[in-house]
Amino acid sequence: MNMKFTIPLIVFAALAGLMLFGLTNDPKLIPSPFVGKPAPQFTLPRLYKPEETVSVSDMKGKVWMFNLWASWCVSCRAEHKVVTRLSKKEKIPVIGLNYKDFGTEEYGNEALKWLEVLGNPYYAVVVDKDGMAGIDWGVVGVPETFVMDKKGIVRYKFTGPIYQKAADEILSPLIEKLRKEEG
C-alpha cells in the first residue's frame, strides 16, 4: 500500500472515530457551571403557605437536595417515587421548586392536586411562577436536581429524571459522604 491511499485512510479513520465518539455524547447534558460554587440564592413563597417564604440561606448547615418539578412534566411524575424513596431512606430535606406551574389559586391547583395524588416527599415546596428562579439556577428543562453540602456549595447536578440506579449508586453515597464533611 502506498502513501496515496494510506493518508486518506488514516484521515477517514480519525474522522470516523471522532464522529463515533460524538455519538456517545448527549448534547442535552450541559455541564452545570454551578458545581463547586455556592448555591444561587432565592426567597420564594411556599406552595402551601404563600404568605411564608423559604430562602436558600435557611438550609445552611444541612446537606440538602433541590428538586425542580412541574405538574405538566411527565418525567417528573416518573422520577417522583424515586425522589420519595431517596428522601425517606437518607432522611434528607428536599426542597421542591414548583417550576412555572399552576400551583396558586389564580391558576388553579394542579400542583397541589399532583402532590395529593402522588404524595409529598418535600421538606418544603416553593413556587416559581415566572421561571426566573429557575433561570437563576440554570434550568434547561425540569426535572433537575441539585445536591448541596453543609456550606451551601452545589456539589452535584442531576439533569433529567432520577432513576433508582442513579439514586442508589450516585446520590445515596454522595449524601452520606457529604454528611461526614465539616459544616
Binding site: P27, K28, I30, P31, P33, F34, P40, G131, G138, V140
Partner: protein, 157 residues
C-alpha cells in the same frame, strides 16, 4: 410574458407564506434609548436557547427562550451592560450559551482550525501544481494514438 409574471407572483407568494410560518412571536418591549434596544437585539441574537440548541434566543419560541429574553431585557432596562448579561448567562449555562464562544484554550481549535486547514490545503495544492509543472504529462506515442482511434471507431452497442 404574462406567464412569467404569474410565475413570479406565485414564487413571491410562497416566499411570503414561508416567512409568515417561520416568524416567531416575540414580546413587545419598550426601551429607554436606542443603545439599550440595540444591545437587547444583539444579545438575543448571540445567546443560544439551551432548550432548543440550534436556535438563538431571538429565533426560538420555547418557553425557556422567552424567559431568558425576559431576563436579558430586565437586566438591560435596569442598566446592565453587555458584560453583565453575558456573565449572568455563562455563570448559569457555561460558554455553551454563547454562539460566539470566547477565545480560550478549549476553543482554540474552533477559532484557528479553519485557518490552519486553509493554509495546509493551499500548501499541498501549490506543492501539487509545482510537481505537475516539473513532470510534464507523457505524450502519446503513435501506436497509442492508433489503438485509441481503433477503439473509438469500432462499432459497439
Amino acid at each position: 410574458m404574462k406567464f412569467l409574471a404569474t410565475r413570479l407572483l406565485l414564487i413571491l407568494g410562497f416566499c411570503f407564506f414561508t416567512l409568515q410560518a417561520n416568524a416567531v412571536k416575540i414580546e413587545f418591549h419598550t426601551f429607554e434609548n436606542k443603545q439599550q434596544e440595540q444591545l437587547y437585539l444583539q444579545l438575543i441574537a448571540e445567546l443560544r436557547c439551551v432548550k432548543c440548541q440550534n436556535q438563538n434566543l431571538a429565533e426560538s419560541n420555547a418557553e425557556l427562550a422567552k424567559d431568558m429574553r425576559e431576563k436579558a431585557y430586565d437586566m438591560i432596562i435596569k442598566g446592565g451592560s453587555r458584560q453583565d448579561v453575558v456573565k449572568y448567562m455563562t455563570d448559569r449555562y457555561g460558554n455553551f450559551v454563547l454562539y460566539k464562544p470566547p477565545f480560550i484554550a478549549k476553543t482554540l481549535l474552533l477559532w484557528v482550525g479553519p485557518a490552519v486547514f486553509l493554509i495546509l490545503s493551499l500548501f499541498f495544492l501549490i506543492k501539487l501544481i509545482k510537481k505537475q509543472q516539473k513532470e510534464p504529462i507523457e505524450m502519446l506515442s503513435d501506436t497509442d494514438r492508433d489503438s485509441v482511434r481503433e477503439l473509438l471507431n469500432s462499432k459497439k452497442d
